[in-house]
């Protein structure tokens, strides 16, 4: 009798969890392990902003699967554990705590992390992030002391955060840079209209400028822009979009560019290793080019598809369905993001 395959999934987001569920559905004997640097369970990112400002909300209320689900599905969940190296020839992943785990099939679904613009890289420790459950938890613990927050960039995550914080009386400054409203690709006219609408809501908007430094100033931070503007703030939040989290791949011999390069079956350049979701840069035969995708809908779809392929199928990934976004009363079509609105509390 053939020994059960060990599927190791690096990442605990929508792609990884959907893949794990699909693998279990089709291979009851498989050993499935999810390893994730994330400290918290797979949760609904769109609820994080609300969690931040609702004192009674607990992070576990956002979990998509309560933990017994993993027991029922016999999926080993390893949170707060970071993979720092992959050895494809030996089929091992190495973890930060010196453990190595052998795999038969490996799926990389490490998602994306906030982009840190080069000019701010050395100040990274001073900057607030709002991308994960852990980020939200950390921010929530100090939120009562936050009277003013500055968004460095002004991406859509910053818009979600603003939507939650404004009703709480938190004053906001948006320093809009080249990644404003990421990942939505608008023309300049739309971007201007959106910036105007932010000002109408009482948000200070700094246009055509860049944050170049952040430094501690007594209990606050002092953000300086290239244009010479200085903003005193309690928190400076990275909001220049997200980039695929693939730094750990290093010398693994897996081809990467922005993300992990995968073919239209989500297979990487190494045998028995696949990638999906926001960490993957997928080759779409329709485009005859690679594209990074964003959003949990894409990730979930890719997770389900890659599971088939890891089990031997040759399913081809399709371009994402367009999503519908409403911001400031305007409707936009976008790829990768689930339809959502930032107008609900207007």
């Amino acid at each position: 009798m053939a020994e059960a395959l060990h599927f190791v999934i690096v990442g605990n987001g929508p792609a990884g969890n959907e893949a794990a569920a699909a693998l279990r559905g089709q291979d009851p004997k498989a050993r499935i392990t999810i390893i994730s640097a994330a400290a918290t369970h797979y949760l609904r990112p769109e609820k994080l902003a609300a969690f931040l400002v609702q004192p009674r909300h607990r992070l576990k209320d956002l979990y998509i699967h309560p933990y017994p689900w993993y027991e029922e599905q016999r999926i080993q969940l390893r949170l707060n554990q970071t993979v720092n190296r992959i050895a494809p020839e030996q089929k091992y992943v190495y973890l930060n705590h010196k453990e190595r785990v052998r795999y038969d099939r490996l799926l990389l679904v490490t998602g994306a992390r906030p982009r840190v613009p080069e000019r701010l890289a050395s100040l990274s420790s001073l900057l607030t992030r709002f991308a994960t459950g852990a980020d939200a938890l950390l921010l929530k613990r100090g939120i009562a002391r936050v009277k003013h927050m500055t968004m460095l960039g002004g991406d859509c995550i910053a818009l979600e955060l603003a939507q939650a914080l404004l009703p709480q009386g938190v004053r906001l400054t948006f320093i809009l840079d080249e990644y404003r409203f990421w990942p939505l690709e608008f023309d300049e006219g739309v971007k201007k209209r959106l910036a105007d609408s932010l000002e109408k809501k009482g948000i200070e908007v700094v246009r055509d400028d860049l944050a170049v430094s952040v430094e501690p100033a007594s209990d606050e931070l002092l953000v300086k822009t290239r244009g010479g503007k200085e903003v005193k703030t309690d928190r400076a939040c990275l909001s220049s979009g997200m980039v695929p989290a693939v730094d750990f791949l290093g010398s693994a011999g897996i081809d990467t560019q922005l993300g992990v390069l995968v073919d239209d079956h989500l297979q990487t350049s190494q045998p028995d290793i696949w990638a999906a979701g926001e960490c993957a840069q997928v080759y779409y035969s329709e485009l005859k080019d690679y594209r990074c995708s964003t959003g949990s809908v894409n990730a979930e779809q890719q997770g389900r598809l890659v599971a088939q392929n890891m089990l031997g199928a040759k399913e081809t990934v399709k371009l994402p369905e367009p999503g519908r976004v409403t911001i400031a009363g305007e409707h936009f079509t976008t790829y990768g993001w689930k339809g959502f609105s930032l107008d609900e509390k207007d």
Binding site: T40, H41, P68, W69, L79, H97, K98
Partner: protein, 591 residues
Amino acid sequence: MRKIDLTVEICGSAGDGTLAAGEILTTTLAFQGFHVLSFDSYPAEIRGFGKCVAHVRVSDQPVHSLSGTVDILISLDDSYSIQQLPTLQPEAVVLFDNQPLAPVLEEDQCIAGHLGPGMILYGAPFHELSQQATASGRSRNLVALGAFAALFEMNLEKFLESLRQKFKRKPRVVDEVAAAFNAGVDYVAGNVLKLDEFSFRRDQESETAAYELLTGNEAAARGAIDAGCKLYAGYPITPTTKIMEILSEELPRHGGIVAQVEDEISAIGMVSGAAAVGVRAMTGTSGPGLCLMTEFIGWDIMAEVPVVIIDSQRGGPATGLPTKTEQSDLYMALFAGNGDAPRIVVAPTNAGECHYWVAEALYLAEKFQVPVIILMDLFLSNRNENVILKPVPQEKLRANLFPTPEELAKGYLRQALSERGVSPRTLPGTENGYWVISGLEQDIYGTPVYDAKNHTNMTEKRFTKLKTALAEDIPPATRFGCEGKADLGVMSWGSTTGAAIEAVERAAAEGRKVAGLKQLVLNPFHREPVARFLDDCKQVLVPELNRGGQFAHWMGMHFSREFLRMNQVTARPITHTEIYNEIRKVLEQKP
């Protein structure tokens, strides 16, 4: 209502400082105002290998037993800690060394891959931080404690104060200890995001300042000193060696001595000799030692010599499980020896009772000229708990139990018969009070005789004095849980009683008609309260750490009643959760 009731385990290999860390944590938590009960399990070998586990139950309310489950596990050795995982709560927290000395670990060597999906894993580089802070990896247990203290919001100043107290006799290491501890604190503050909701923060001072933190062994030793014991003779044996160690330091300061002799026969012999000439004396051992003492116990009963013997039970028979607990010496304590050999058998249920009943046993032994066996067990001997010690009965202990010169001048009958069954005893050399100490049956004058009538009378006398002890000194069993008629009664003895109390109280608080009976003195005992309890209860459950239910059998010899036995020989204490689950199971069974 308990707001805090958590069990912390520290698990490592022998030599990791696991038990030392557990002791420090227990002391510190008690110092910070918590009620604690801690217990260690460790291998029989002296050092070098084998699993060590320190269990600490912490609460803001008094605790009487260990919990069956663990909320927080500190792993100093993952390969051993993995074995502890089945006892972890589904949402437990595990703190581990995320940079161990080994270059690479396989999956079965690392705890990180074995946790349940609801558990939270925190890592800190214990070894590395210890190296950085103290130039040695030996303080990794203290780094772990620092990480623990920071993660669970303990009072760090008080923790450091506890450490300074602990190491005050080693001033050279105090700074290193503090450095290692602070390294753990700082690491957590800078690197770990707290995800759990456990906290040992205290917003107000606790009333536990009046409590002392003592093990059963420490309490027993204190009881011996407080009662004026002048000789402790013994042969080292787990788990009672500690009593001898403490007394070897303390007794000389109180005018007494400790004699470490060549075996347990010598120990009981020396104690019997000393007691026979009027020295308040006792010995301590565990099951294998009590076996060797058996002949002398009979001699003490026949010669009416007042000795006290502590038997701290451990897994048997023979050498058995020297470092594991059991309650399987009851038959031996009650019956060991030839002939009809009545003796008093006491089973304290907590450290406070170990203290009080060692003193009381020394008194009872002298008053009734009889051996008193104190049945402790390894769990009771070694567990640490907060106690308020009850004063020992000094007046009774100082009372003159000997006949006066005037009484002796009227004539002395060493084995005189009386209603109380207690004959007048004199010390050797007492004018008009001479007699011969012997293991032979004697007549009232102290002369060896073998006739049937005398043996009948003297045998009766030896039993009568236990009835007198019962009437004059021995307390009745005490009831807890629901009042009046009960669907289920739980009878317990020794260290299992704490678990029984918590289980019964929990069941009673849920509205179940469950009562408990705690029997401290196992022989002789007041029949009526037990009979009333048995009448009140539809069924009676007896949890014990032995194979066949020795106490249930003992009760069965006195009462015509079926007992539901709950027996474990699992080498660890019964927990309140296990008894509670058994209570529910019994009550939910259809008749």
